[in-house]
């Protein structure tokens, strides 16, 4: 029977291939020749976050904030431009979040203003224009396309920034991707300190240099009389003696002179005098020039270094600083300083982020889950194998062989497709063990029926398979449909279930229709057994 031999060869080759793919997951120390050969797979089966521990975050980028920031900047640009062209205005502010309102008082200014708008700000959209007294109130905003573009860029840039930060932080195999318009999915396997990771990822890290307004009194401002163009920001520090946090208010100008976008580098250094860590920053050429100009013009004034709306320090400018170097001091631990340097280096998020979903699994729970999953798999598997062997005797052994093969095939499939094994995924394998018997049962019951009709073993096997194959396919297609739908819609762990279930179904189809058939054929044709043990 050459046909039989060919089939045997194919099946054995397939099984050997499957075994080769399972090897890396079983042996952590692969022999040298295995890895150097190049053709052999070295990838282990990926474990999901629920099995190896780690963190799953879904963040939402407040893209609206990015639009607001843009409007705020435009207001600043308008102010500068009007000052430069000596156009009078009495009000110029951001209103209703994303609109600019300008009150131009007289005819002469209106003409100059219109000219300037046409020339320099033609990209702004006119919302309304209403006369007020002798002047007009002009409202401007951004065209929809521009808003959409800003939002899109904000999400994109946020993802890139977060990826940068995580890369620099050093997490093995992080998974960062965009979900929908403004969501970012972050998966960090094996994270031990979730709070630190969240700080690192979620910190906006907007670094601003602002001048402290020393002409006005902070106490007056705290009572609600903040001078126009100023704002109150706080510096939090820890009292060394009482260990209480103290919040010191500062009155600073709203205007930002320099931001972190000109940074080229940020590093942790240790102060030689006090042994405290600080972060030193380097600016690029443009930043260095800006920094030089500010320090030159404001000697003996205080410059506030503001990070995400909090003042870190507000040193007095002693002299013009050229060379483009600045430092942030504060009560840092070395770890905090290191993380701060990372976020500064990676750049600010274009807009703040919110946490929409957080799932954290500790490593010990992951280990427990693996162990429990394996124990239930062994117990369930052994019970089924024993039962099938007792119930179907010789044929049962064939079915048991098929089950073992199924498990190998599932493992190989997971490794081959680089799919992730999750706890529900293990449940899927366990379920497959139970259901894999089904295909064999259908065939065996058929063969039994046929044998009962007085057919020879050979005829019974033939007829049994012929009748059962379609039924088995039919029955399994529905479960496969359910599994595929789950794969499409499921998230994380559930996807793992869908994967193992799908591979399991396919594997059990293969083993029942091909492998056990082959063994039967071998027994009936080659060995010419006269009695089926079924």
């Amino acid at each position: 029977m050459t046909q039989l031999k060919w089939k045997l060869f194919l099946v054995v080759a397939f099984v050997v291939l499957a075994l080769v793919y399972v090897v890396p997951s079983v042996y952590s120390n692969l022999p040298h020749w295995w890895t150097t050969w190049g053709i052999l797979p070295t990838e282990k089966i990926h474990l999901g976050l629920d099995l190896q521990g780690g963190m799953h975050l879904v963040l939402e980028v407040q893209t609206q904030k990015a639009v607001e920031n843009r409007i705020e900047r435009t207001v600043q640009e308008l102010r500068d431009a009007m000052k430069k062209a000596s156009i009078r205005y009495t009000e110029l502010d951001r209103i209703e979040e994303i609109q600019i309102s300008v009150l131009v008082p007289n005819k002469q200014s209106i003409d100059a203003f219109d000219k300037m708008l046409d020339k320099e700000f033609a990209w702004l959209r006119l919302v309304s224009r209403n006369p007020e007294g002798e002047g007009v109130v002009v409202r401007l905003d951004l065209p929809e396309r521009e808003v959409k573009y800003i939002k899109e860029m904000a999400s994109k840039q946020a993802m890139e920034t977060i990826r940068n930060r995580i890369d620099q932080f050093g997490v093995s195999e992080p998974d960062i991707r965009r979900q929908g318009e403004n969501r970012i999915l972050v998966q960090l396997p094996g994270i031990k300190d979730p709070q630190r990771a969240i700080n690192l990822i979620g910190q906006t890290a907007l670094l601003e240099f602002k001048l402290v307004d020393e002409d006005h009194d902070v106490q007056e401002a705290l009572k609600g009389k903040t001078p126009p163009g100023d704002e109150i920001l706080y510096q939090t520090s820890e009292d060394k003696v009482t260990r209480r946090t103290v919040k010191t208010p500062f009155l600073v100008q709203k205007r930002t002179y320099l931001t972190g976008e000109y940074l080229t580098d940020a590093r942790v250094q240790i102060d030689s005098q006090f042994g405290e860590p600080y972060v030193s920053m380097n600016f690029d050429k443009k930043g260095a020039r800006l920094f030089e100009r500010i320090t030159e013009a404001n000697v003996k004034k205080r410059l506030a270094i503001v990070l995400d709306g909090c003042i870190y320090s507000a040193p007095v400018i002693q002299e013009k600083i050229s060379g483009g170097e600045a430092r942030i001091t504060g009560n840092f631990t070395t770890e905090e300083a290191r993380d701060l340097a990372i976020v500064l280096r990676a750049g600010a998020l274009p807009a703040p982020v919110k946490i929409l979903e957080e799932r954290t699994v500790g490593p010990s729970l992951g280990r427990d889950s693996i162990q429990r999953g394996l124990v239930s798999m062994w117990v369930g598997g052994i019970l089924v194998v024993l039962f099938v062997a007792i119930y179907y005797k010789g044929a049962g052994i064939i079915a048991d062989l098929a089950i073992c093969l199924d498990i190998i095939l599932i493992a190989a499939g997971l490794a081959f497709f680089q799919a992730t094994l999750t706890l529900p995924g293990i449940a899927g394998i366990i379920l497959t063990i139970g259901m894999a018997v089904d295909a064999n049962v259908i065939i065996f019951e058929r063969i039994r029926e046929e044998a009962r009709l007085g057919k020879t073993p050979r005829a019974a096997v033939d007829a049994g398979y012929a009748r059962a194959t379609m039924t088995i396919l039919d029955a399994n297609v529905t479960t496969l449909i359910a599994a595929l739908v789950l794969f499409q819609f499921g998230t994380g762990p559930i996807k793992g279930f869908a994967v193992t279930l799908s591979i399991g179904i396919l594997a059990s189809l293969f083993t029942a229709i091909w492998v056990s058939r082959l063994i039967f054929d071998y027994l009936v044709f080659q060995r010419r057994i006269g009695h089926l043990s079924i």
């Binding site: 010990s364 379920l431 089904d438």
Partner: protein, 356 residues
């Protein structure tokens, strides 16, 4: 070894009325329970909220944990023991979630360590789902249920009646109807009910009796499993939806095997009454039905007992589903075929009327 002797002939069809009322009663209880509790209890995946799993080194009272975390303002709804007693593990549930950039795990750990300095607390799992994500997941899950149903209906009607064209027409009708209803802004649960009704009506109109039998069995299984969850106060989470879909697949698997035999026997014994053919088919496949259910039950029970707390409810849903699915392929799907034949008054065998 054989559990079911080859010449077994249990009168399943004769008892179909008892089974019918039994099923009806269980479904009624399920629906009453669902209505009384205001729909199924959604877990945090769908409702949003927070679940924290904490493990202590020594025994502790759940009330104490609740008090220790009072300052968190998460609206803690319950603190329950989790898994085995000797593990000192607890599940803290809260209705709220935070969007702030602080990890709940470390905050909870800090509070618990401050309250119980002697009893080390380990935060093993934190799951926090915001309301937005919860809503998304809810829609996704329902959409998954619905598309599974759609594909399966197309497959069954196509495969069994060999009316692929009809089944594709049916699927397009279904999608068109739903599209129209969705335009009216109906919520997805209502859409699914409409979809199921439309499917039933269509299969009735298009004379797809096998599809109809299978779908009735499916609705039966899902309703009862959902009902059991409602009665036992278990929560619906993403894994449970996965379990429901698996149950759908599994129950259909059983149903298809029986239907397959009915088709085969209808050709073979076309002189016999339809009831007899069906009863014979059920008996002939009984051995397989029971064996497969048995092996599946064995592994699922192993998972339920040994798999640990996280997978507990999932395994529970599967146990219920396997049992109900086995029952329904015998007592629900097949009797629907008989009811169909009776209402259609279209005799299958020539001698059928005479025999009556």
């Amino acid at each position: 070894m054989q559990f079911i002797k080859p010449d077994t002939n249990i009168d399943f069809i004769g008892k179909r009325r008892i089974a019918f009322f039994g099923s009806l009663a269980v479904i009624a209880i399920s629906i009453v329970s669902l209505v009384a509790k205001g729909g199924p209890t959604y877990g945090i995946d769908f409702a949003g909220g927070t679940v924290v799993q904490v493990k202590f080194t020594n025994g502790i009272q759940p009330e104490g944990i609740k008090n220790a975390l009072r300052s968190l303002d998460l609206g803690i709804t319950s603190v329950q023991g989790f898994g085995e007693r000797k593990e000192h593990e607890f599940l803290i549930r809260a209705a709220k979630s935070t969007e702030a950039l602080e990890s709940l795990a470390s905050e909870i750990k800090r509070l618990l360590e401050a309250t119980y300095p002697q009893n080390k607390a380990e935060v093993r799992r934190v799951e926090m789902v915001g309301p937005k994500v919860g809503k998304d997941l809810r829609e996704k899950a329902l959409l998954a249920m619905f598309s599974a149903l759609l594909f399966i209906v197309v497959y069954i009607s196509g495969r069994f009646e060999l009316k692929w064209m009809v089944s594709i027409v049916m699927a397009s009708c279904l999608i068109a109807t739903l599209f129209v209803f969705a335009k009216f802004g109906m919520s997805i649960p209502i859409l699914i009910i409409i979809a199921v009704l439309v499917t039933l009506a269509l299969s009735f109109y298009l004379k797809l009796k096998f599809a109809m039998g299978a779908i009735v069995a499916l609705i039966h299984d899902v309703l009862i499993t959902v009902g059991v969850f409602s009665l036992t106060n278990k929560e619906f989470t993403l894994p449970i939806i996965a379990a429901l879909l698996t149950i759908i697949g599994y129950s259909l698997n059983d149903t298809i095997i029986v239907f397959d035999r009915i088709r085969e026997n209808s050709r073979k014994y076309h002189r016999q009454a339809y009831e007899l053919i069906i009863n014979r088919s059920i008996n002939e496949t009984l051995s397989r039905t029971l064996l497969t259910s048995l092996t599946t039950l064995v592994v699922v029970i192993a998972l339920f007992v040994l798999g640990g707390g996280i997978i507990h409810d999932f395994a529970f849903a599967l146990i219920v589903g396997v049992i109900i699915g086995t029952y329904s392929s015998i007592y629900v799907a097949s009797p629907v075929l008989i009811i169909w034949e009776q209402t259609m008054k279209k005799p299958i065998g020539k001698t059928r009327k005479r025999r009556r």
